[in-house]
Amino acid sequence: MKWLVEFFSSGIGKKLLMSLTGLFLIIFLVVHLAGNLQLLKDDNGQSFNIYAKFMTSNPLIKTVSYGLYFFILLHAVVGILIAWSNKQAKGKGYAVSASSPNTSWASKNMALLGTLILAFLFIHMGDFWYKMKFTDLLPYVTYDAEMGPIKNLYARTAEAFSDPLIVITYLIGMAVLSFHLWHGFQSAFQTLGINHPKYSPLIRAAGKAFAILIPLAYAIIPIWHYFNHA
């Protein structure tokens, strides 16, 4: 076991954790988006509400979601730890700071971007997840006698996204996520030791496309609701 302790206390070991949890979160982003795009369906929320009911009651999904919370926290805690000890390792900075060519702003501000994402996640979970699971604030709807009344999360979403302040918060959150992914996506592969003249250009291009398209698709949801219900 000594080797494993040694591995995870090494810098490269800690970075492997960042890379694997980061890639897991990237997959989660796709799954979560696929579910949420049902909010754009023209059925007054029926399919989204049934999906939300399923996601909060299916035992397998529940287990996976605890794994997800754990990985987000692990990614955040290790990330902040890395950023803190890297700051110590740099020590005093330069009087003249000239940015080296070919370095992105995002790559040097991952901890700031990550902390903003974490803040966004708390707001986001408070808006929906907390209200759905721990309060009785949500109205009920019945689509199917057998299923009985279920919570109308769609109505809560429509209400939240009629507030311009919440819409703007979400747009900022997605912009921040986009920057984090702009660097993070390809960085995770380099950390895994994958750097190859054939595949790396593809990975970098896919990372940039992902960093733009996924946050953009998420951002459409609050914008669409704002203009459809305001």
Binding site: M1, K2, W3, L4, E6, F7, S9, S10, G11, I12, G13, K14, K15, L16, I82, S85, N86, Q88, A89, K90, G91, K92, G93, Y94, A95, V96, S97, A98, S100, P101, N102, T103, S104, S107, K108, M110, H183, Q186, S187, Q190, T191, L192, G193, I194, N195, H196, S200
Partner: protein
């Protein structure tokens, strides 16, 4: 062409002094190297009974890696693939103010003025240890079977002169580019493969112990490296380290 320059340079008596910038005027010309310009400035300071600026230099031809300094915020100055000793004054303009600072990283403490202690690099190399294959005399061409592409990659990595610009440029003070260059130049060759698992593990442990930061894959090291060592060496280092820890039989 003659040029009058203002040199704003970091002066620090010793490793425990706090240090501050001083500005000096110097008359240089465009044919001088950056170090020759500093020589002229130092002669002037000595003639005025002032303490000359301490800076390291040896080969003055871009191969020893000692001429460490940060010029206008960039290690070894503004040009790609160039050491300070090979940087010519024609890349500056008459009347310029040039800011010269020592490398900044916790593992490279400032000893005096622009001189930093880079012994941490030596200790990383020492941790790497020996190669048990007796390399002997230069072997006959093609007597060791190795592909051209692999030999070229090892050779490119071996070009690292241990100057530390990678650490100086890195916002995390990370030594991953240097260590990865050493690990790939040995690990890619059959002679170095024998000890490769032990070597990677020991060098990474030493690198962490010296207080270098972790790699965020920013890429400033590659951009500033005078020998243009590539980031794919870092991926190779990561791969070798995973292999050493997970596949290696040491429990």
């Amino acid at each position: 062409m003659d040029m009058k320059l203002n040199i704003k340079v970091w002066r620090q008596k010793n490793s425990s002094a706090s240090g501050a910038f001083e500005t000096y005027q110097v008359n240089a010309n465009e044919h001088m190297s950056f170090l020759e310009m500093l020589d002229v400035l130092n002669e002037d300071l000595v003639s005025k009974k002032m303490e000359p600026i301490a800076f390291e230099h040896d080969c003055r031809e871009g191969i020893c890696g000692t001429c460490c300094m940060v010029i206008n915020g960039r290690p070894h100055g503004p040009n790609a693939g160039t050491t300070t000793c090979q940087l010519h004054m024609r890349f500056f303009k008459d009347g310029d103010t040039i800011v010269v600072e020592p490398y900044r990283a916790k593992a490279f403490p400032v000893l005096k003025d622009l001189v930093v202690d880079r012994a941490a690099f030596d200790r990383i190399i020492q941790a790497g240890g020996y190669i048990s294959v007796n390399a002997g005399q230069a072997p006959d061409g093609n007597s060791i079977p190795i592909g051209k592409e692999r030999a070229a990659r090892a050779f490119e990595a071996a070009a690292c002169i241990g100057c530390g610009a990678c650490v100086a440029a890195c916002p995390n003070g990370s030594a991953m580019l240097f260590t990865s260059a050493k690990v790939s130049h040995l690990g890619l060759l059959p002679q170095g493969e024998v000890e490769s698992e032990r070597r990677v593990s020991a060098m990474v442990a030493q690198m962490d112990k010296e207080g270098f930061g972790m790699c965020s894959n920013v890429g400033a090291c590659e951009a500033e490296c005078p020998k243009e060592i590539k980031l794919d060496n870092i991926a190779f280092l990561n791969r070798s380290y995973f292999k050493s820890k997970f596949k290696g039989r040491e429990a």
